[in-house]
Symmetry: C2
Subunit: 240 residues, 2 copies
DNA sequence: ACCAACAACTTGTATATACAACCAAATTAC
DNA sequence: GTAATTTGGTTGTATATACAAGTTGTTGGT
């Protein structure tokens, strides 16, 4: 592996294990150059690329720092629904309906890289905004990656928050559908009569593979997904 | 402006005016270095950054080339529905219902940066897969940016294809909703009875501002949106 | 106490150089 | 003619150096 890549790996691991928390300072170009016995330009490249990936931020004359790990993505960012609600100035609450271990259904197994009937964690949660149900979250979690999932208290921390802490996300896969809710969903979303719902299916990955598969169902009248997308030909403004 | 930035600007302009078409070769590091009287490392930086932005691709021992401009984005890429259908091996067709100039409604005006009742182009198209309606596309187009829009033949070229040619996209904004279709929509989507529909609202921009606002409505039973998202903490595999 | 000047450190830009890795085409050997 | 080799061009990595530009804390003067 190239030297600059080794430095990157080292820094990534420090960040991942928490040795370098968010917004903490990381070694300067000169310090890294000395520690790894490379030239400053090589150390610089590692810092530079991590900055381009959004992992660090740097300020001339000051130093380089660990960036906040959340909300990295421009489009359909992985939002924490609790933050979203609170950002609107509304009251967020959650109702835990179920949190169990169960034998893995075939379709879930293939998505999470497990075998059928392997144990899998399952949680069912209603997210509420001002005590109105906003989203029904059904989630399957890979117990090999997140063994502590089943013993969490999800009344004041969303699964997404917990999982982000335990297994830092590297990738996510989405599908958005419009569905007709079944009776069970209607009941828990407190829909007086059925209406079109958005269902976001989200599969998340960490460095070691698939972590969880979530079905997030929201009434069309109460929820929309928004996003922003940048293309390759940039505007006139520089973006560095 | 820094030297490497000047080189980038130059190369971007060459690509934008079409002097350097897709997949054509661009000057090598040494050539650029000589043309701009800079060192190879400085020319290299311009090429490097354009590569990171997805505008070029490079191969060791071969050269640097202009990347394809379409489908740059990882998540919810701007797909051309015709390509999507054909990729499934199905027959794509379109039915043009309307193509007119009309006075701009207020809400459209604000989205496109026009004044109310300014002339605006409007098109209404049904996209079909194997002669089954897949999507109803209602689109408002800024006539200042795309004056030729109204005289196009959209039976064999989608508006998206045409607009991509005329006004290269730089940004797009999306909203996804689940809606209950009105009678008009049901009729044109040939829905025997109403069912939940996905409505993707898409506003696109070129360098000079908003180009068009489109409402894309699809029956939930026939259409899903998929996407993939990469986060900042990369996998072990290098991605350069 | 306040302000100005300075020093130390940081990141940013740029250059000149060297060698490695890779590819394609021309040349050579058989 | 075919295969192996060489050659030239290209990108990739790494180094040593120099100076510019920005921030922060210290020092010193008033």
């Amino acid at each position: 592996m190239a030297k600059f890549a080794e430095i990157k790996e080292f820094m990534l691991s420090q960040i991942e294990i928490g040795a370098w928390p968010e917004h903490s300072r990381v070694p300067s170009e000169n310090e890294l150059a000395e520690q790894f016995s490379v030239s400053r330009m090589t150390a610089r490249r590692a810092l530079q690329e991590l900055t381009e990936q959004g992992i660090l931020y740097r300020t001339q004359g000051v130093g380089s720092f660990v960036a906040a790990l959340k909300s990295q993505s421009s489009l359909l960012e992985i939002r924490n629904i609790a933050d979203e609600v609170q950002a609107r100035g509304h009251a967020y609450s959650a109702r835990l309906l179920q949190l169990t271990e169960l034998p893995c259904p075939t379709i879930i197994a293939s998505a999470l890289g497990l075998q059928r009937n392997d144990p899998v964690f399952f949680s069912l949660i209603v997210h509420l905004e001002n005590n109105v149900p906003l989203q029904l979250e059904a989630r399957y979690v890979n117990p090999l990656q997140v063994p502590g999932y089943i013993s969490q208290d999800f009344s004041h921390q969303t699964p997404h928050q917990y999982l982000s802490l335990i297994a830092p996300l590297t990738e996510a896969e989405h599908t958005v559908e419009a569905i007709w809710p079944d009776d069970f969903t209607c009941k828990h979303l407190m829909l007086k009569k059925a209406e079109p719902c958005l269902r976001l299916t989200r599969r998340t990955f960490s460095r070691d593979g698939a972590v969880s598969l979530a079905y997030l169902t929201s009434p069309g009248s109460r929820y929309r997904l928004g996003g922003h997308l940048n293309f390759s030909l940039p505007n006139n403004k520089e973006r560095i």
